[in-house]
């Protein structure tokens, strides 16, 4: 099933490939052995949109992210990033092309300090990571940028703390600070609220909102907190049994009887 047109609940047309589409998947599929994990998913995400991706556990949301980010290779279909076919590109090549992501579980360098984590992302964005003997100066651009990003997510006071010593909520903030420092055009956030205490949720929501509004990033958000998804998303994509069931604005999707019976009627 394919769904692409903003505002259409069950559009079967292929992505238009218009200039404003920054990330698109066309007929994306993944089969492992005899099992179909992802089945003919087509998506077109306009630049600057925040697209919520919802669905029950096992619906294929994270696998879809893996296919989009290059962690897994599709057995069918193509992925385009900023008009370029990146289907066969590696994870690092896609990251350099402007695609960043977080993972379901915190994926930080726990033995490095908070500042070093963000600095690594900042120096990667500047392409200086392989300068063999260049010493990072205290006031070089990457370090200054890293500290600014930490300030932005409210972690500046933890700059010299080992990342492993942060609370879960702060770890998620650190991941987002790293994304900010890396400056990707498209960001895939995989359950950023998972394990975050309720007190930390509003702050994290604001940080995610700022990714889109202040930094102009295009964001794909997998999240089980429906109130968060509905609050943040411009459109909702509903995954079900590896297929894309619907993709439209939140009100339309929530009112869709197919979605209600297939997803909202099920226990997540």
């Amino acid at each position: 099933m394919s769904t692409t047109e903003p505002g259409a609940t069950h559009a079967h047309a292929r992505p238009t490939g218009g200039e404003d589409v920054v990330l698109s998947a066309t007929g994306l599929g993944l089969r492992i052995g005899g099992a179909t994990i992802i089945d003919d998913v087509s998506l077109a995400v306009p630049r600057g949109e925040l697209l919520g991706v919802i669905g029950p556990n096992g619906a294929g949301k994270t696998t879809l992210f893996n296919l989009l980010s290059g962690v897994a290779r599709p057995t069918a279909g193509r992925v385009h990033l900023a008009g370029r076919d990146v289907t066969s590109s590696s994870v690092d090549a896609r990251a350099r092309a402007g695609l960043g992501r977080t993972f379901q579980t915190s994926n930080l360098f726990v033995g490095l300090t908070v500042r070093e984590n963000v600095r690594l992302a900042a120096q990667a964005a500047r392409g200086g990571a392989v300068s063999l003997l260049r010493f990072p100066r205290r006031q070089d651009a990457a370090t200054v940028d890293a500290l600014a990003r930490l300030e932005q997510v409210g972690l500046a006071h933890h700059a010299e703390t080992l990342a492993g010593g942060l609370s879960h909520g702060d770890k998620r903030k650190l991941e987002i600070a790293m994304l900010l420092a890396a400056g990707p055009e498209v960001i895939l956030l995989d359950e950023p609220m998972a394990g975050v205490g309720s007190a930390d949720v509003p702050g994290l929501v604001e940080v995610i909102r700022s990714l889109q509004r202040e930094h102009g990033a295009t964001v794909l958000l997998v999240e089980h907190h429906m109130d968060v998804v509905l609050d943040l998303s411009d459109r909702l994509a509903v995954m079900h049994h590896g297929s894309l069931l619907a993709c439209a604005d939140p009100e339309t999707v929530m009112a869709d009887p197919t979605v209600q019976s297939a997803y909202l009627g099920e226990s997540a």
């Binding site: 962690v71 690092d92 990251a95 990667a124 990571a129 300068s131 990072p136």
Partner: protein, 291 residues
Amino acid sequence: MSTLVLLLVTGVGLGALYFLVASGLSLIYGLMGVLNFAHGSFLTLGAYAGWEVSRRMSDGSWLSLVLSLVVGAAVGALVAIATELLLIRRLYERHVEQVLVTVGLALATVALFDGIWGTDAVYVSGPAWLDETSGVLGAQIPHDRFLLIGVAVAVLLGIVAFLRFTRFGLVIRAGVENRSMVTALGIDVRMAFTVVFAIGGAAAGIGGVLASQYFGYVSPQLGASLLIFAFIVTVIGGLGSLLGAAIASLAVAVLQQLANFYASGTGDLVVVLLLAAVLLVRPSGLMGARA
């Protein structure tokens, strides 16, 4: 007392040799998950390269020794780079094939060394000062122990400074922890793989030249004999931990010396028992994050 001091200093000197081999093994495993059984060959080749330099200069001078160390390090690094680029790079995440290829390379290079330099050991001499002794707490300590310790400490500090203060060191430290996340940031870690192999090869090459001074000879089996203990040290210290490798090197070598002297030559047995005990109590090693 003087015997104990001699054993301790000798143990620390031997530990320095183990560390020079183990540091590369540990970093390579930590970053790439590669168990490099050919690492001993880097050491042997470094030792032969150093010997070739010293016999051509044949003056037993410090300059000759320093040049031997530099050439040994360079040859170790170059061969390690070639190994990574030509063999290992094609086999990432294919651990069985990595073991087969590195074991095969180790066997093939020993045969190659046999062919080039012969099966008999070649004897090495260095500055006369190394053959002399100095009194420390009543014990007469051979000076070569001081050289081993000094160079190993310098190598340790150099690697730590590189990892701690350079941009590339940050990439390597991050890669040792979480290689896939480094990739997700857009960093091509293959360059880091090559650099870590080069660092490991250079340290092994230096270790080879120092081992030839310590034992007084170079033979095709020199690297293999040290590699076994270096692997034990790497596992005890924790795969991927440089500091763990340093601590374990000292602990293993000192224990080995003491057991050899006080427990009827059971040093090797005691080391293996220590390995078994560490694996039972702390499978990830003293400072390792993973088993």
